[in-house]
């Protein structure tokens, strides 16, 4: 594996770029491993990387039914933030943010993490109060937050509708300056490269069709490329967690729903941070290529189909037009949908399953991308030590039995409303 540096770039430029080696090795499955991770998305690959890096466990396979990063890792709006306020979420997402801040150096792979700031807009005095409360809780937890006045928002994001006619007048916003975006493919590839360099097998085109059992314990997986035995089987298949759990006979506090996102044609820079509408569920940012990246609500009914329906397209465009009037002159060039594990309190699971030998990482709702580093980091700890780290101790399946839901939005068990 070539170390990427200014020097290696210079050297390869002189040699006609003929000396680059493959970023990671496409492996063939072996009959047995210490750990098999199901799912070669950001979370699965990060788990593999941290298993090797933090715990020295390298006899690991990551098995992916399609190609790595081709699931939800490639179907999000790449927003990274840590503006959470409920115990259990706050420190976890802040840990993720700290890993993001050092990720490109750690992986020796440019994940294009851009801390361009994220603003949650407020559209009423009550919403300003609520943002002040959230900001204060964040600051008490050592996470910076800045409550912006209307004038500050106008200066920072001039393209929003500040006119008398604005449907939802902008009163201000809550800014997290360290939030931003990252490049989703680079995250998958960076982790894959780091894991592969440490001896972990990344196996593509290998779908899990069932589990191998021994006296009520899971001891491996049946795949389309034959059985693979493993001391520990860890799923990281958000979007299909219910489906994979069902194969093991488990019923989860998850419903699977479809979420759409959009990119417009590329235009000159007009918005240099991520903006979330406070009135309608909607968010917008601009990619480095110039396209506006936007998204909003779920379609609102159970779905594993990776495509959405037109009413949500209309709803998103209406929200976009209400917030950023200039979008009415733009064309959408791409539009996609991903399937989400919508958990019953809007928070994830990183824990041992109630079956020996099986581990669960899922329930990310539509906030999985930002969590990728900490999810992998905590999951690796949980798998290696057979107990959770303090950071993911609350992300357990039995929290519903114990009345310890982590309901950031206060929606209750109506997963299509989170």
């Amino acid at each position: 594996m070539t170390h990427y540096s200014a020097f290696s770039l210079f050297k390869e430029a002189l040699r006609g770029n003929k000396g680059w080696s493959r970023a990671w090795q496409d492996a063939e499955p072996k009959p047995a491993y210490d750990v098999v991770i199901i799912g070669g998305g950001g979370h699965g690959l990060a788990t593999a990387y941290y298993l090797a890096k933090e715990h020295g466990i390298t006899n690991v396979a990551v098995i992916e039914k399609g190609y790595i990063g081709g699931g939800n890792t490639g179907r999000n709006t790449t927003i990274v933030r840590s503006n959470y306020m409920i115990d259990g979420n706050t420190n976890f997402y802040e840990h993720s943010m700290k890993l993001w801040e050092d990720l490109s150096r750690d992986l020796n792979f440019n994940v294009m993490f851009s801390q361009r700031g994220q603003i949650n807009l407020a559209h009423s005095p009550a919403q300003m109060d609520s943002h002040a409360r959230r900001g204060n809780i964040m600051r008490m937890n050592g996470i910076e937050a800045h409550l912006m006045s209307r004038e500050e928002v106008m200066k920072r994001v001039p393209i929003l509708d500040y006119s008398e006619n604005a449907r939802f007048p902008i009163h201000g916003g809550l800014l997290q300056e360290r939030a931003g975006t990252a490049r989703h493919d680079a995250v998958a590839w960076g982790y894959a490269r780091g894991a592969s360099a440490r001896g972990i097998d990344i196996i593509q085109g290998c779908e899990v069709t069932g589990y191998l059992w021994d006296h009520g314990r899971i001891v491996g997986v049946e795949t389309t490329r034959g059985p693979i035995r493993a001391k520990k089987v860890a799923m990281a298949v958000a979007g299909h967690t219910s489906h994979m759990a069902k194969m093991a006979g488990l019923r989860l506090p998850i419903e699977t729903h479809v979420l759409q996102a959009f990119v417009t044609e590329a235009i000159k820079p007009v918005i240099d941070c991520v903006v979330s509408f406070g009135a309608v569920h909607f968010y917008i940012s601009q990619s480095d290529k110039g396209g506006l990246v936007l998204g909003g609500d779920l379609d609102g009914h159970n779905s594993y189909g990776q495509r959405g329906d037109m009413p949500i397209v209309e709803e998103n465009m209406a929200a976009a037009k209400a917030l950023v009037p200039l979008v009415s002159r733009l064309q959408l060039v791409r539009h996609w949908a991903g399937v989400m594990d919508m958990s019953m309190d809007g928070s994830p699971f990183i824990c041992k399953a109630p079956i020996e030998g099986l581990y669960i990482n899922g329930g990310w709702c539509y906030g999985g991308f930002k969590a990728t580093p900490a999810s992998g980091w905590c999951y690796a700890h949980t798998i290696a030590k057979d107990e959770p780290h303090a950071l993911n101790a609350r992300f357990r399946l039995d929290r519903f039995h114990r009345g310890q839901q982590i309901d950031e939005k206060g929606m209750g068990p109506t997963p299509w409303a989170h």
Binding site: R251, L252, T256, H301, S303, F400, H401
Partner: protein, 98 residues
């Protein structure tokens, strides 16, 4: 556009309907005090990849609750029935208030 053939109003776009979720999640008896059964009912779902029985209310039409069987990958609607004809709304007995 997902369309649901309402038995009372005819074939309509799904935006006229309110989604009510899983129709096969049976509610325990109201007198049941077992916390595990209530936890299962409130928080746990079958969430199948395939045919899913679910409630929809024709909010902008006849306002009746319907029991729809729909495929969660293809979104094809397989059957629509008035919920009142096929399901008891809650298995618990009505509590008489004195």
């Amino acid at each position: 556009m997902l369309r649901i053939a309402c038995p009372h109003c005819g074939d309509r776009d799904y935006v006229e309907f309110l989604y009510g979720g899983d129709a096969e999640n049976a509610m325990p008896e109201l007198s049941d005090t077992d916390i595990d059964r209530w936890t299962e009912f409130v928080f746990f779902r079958n969430d199948p990849k395939g045919e899913h029985a679910e409630y929809w209310q024709h909010q902008h039409g006849c306002r009746q609750w319907l029991r729809v069987v729909r495929h969660t990958v293809t979104h094809q609607v397989i059957s629509v029935q008035p919920a009142s004809e096929v399901d008891t709304p809650a298995q618990g007995k009505r509590v008489e208030v004195a």
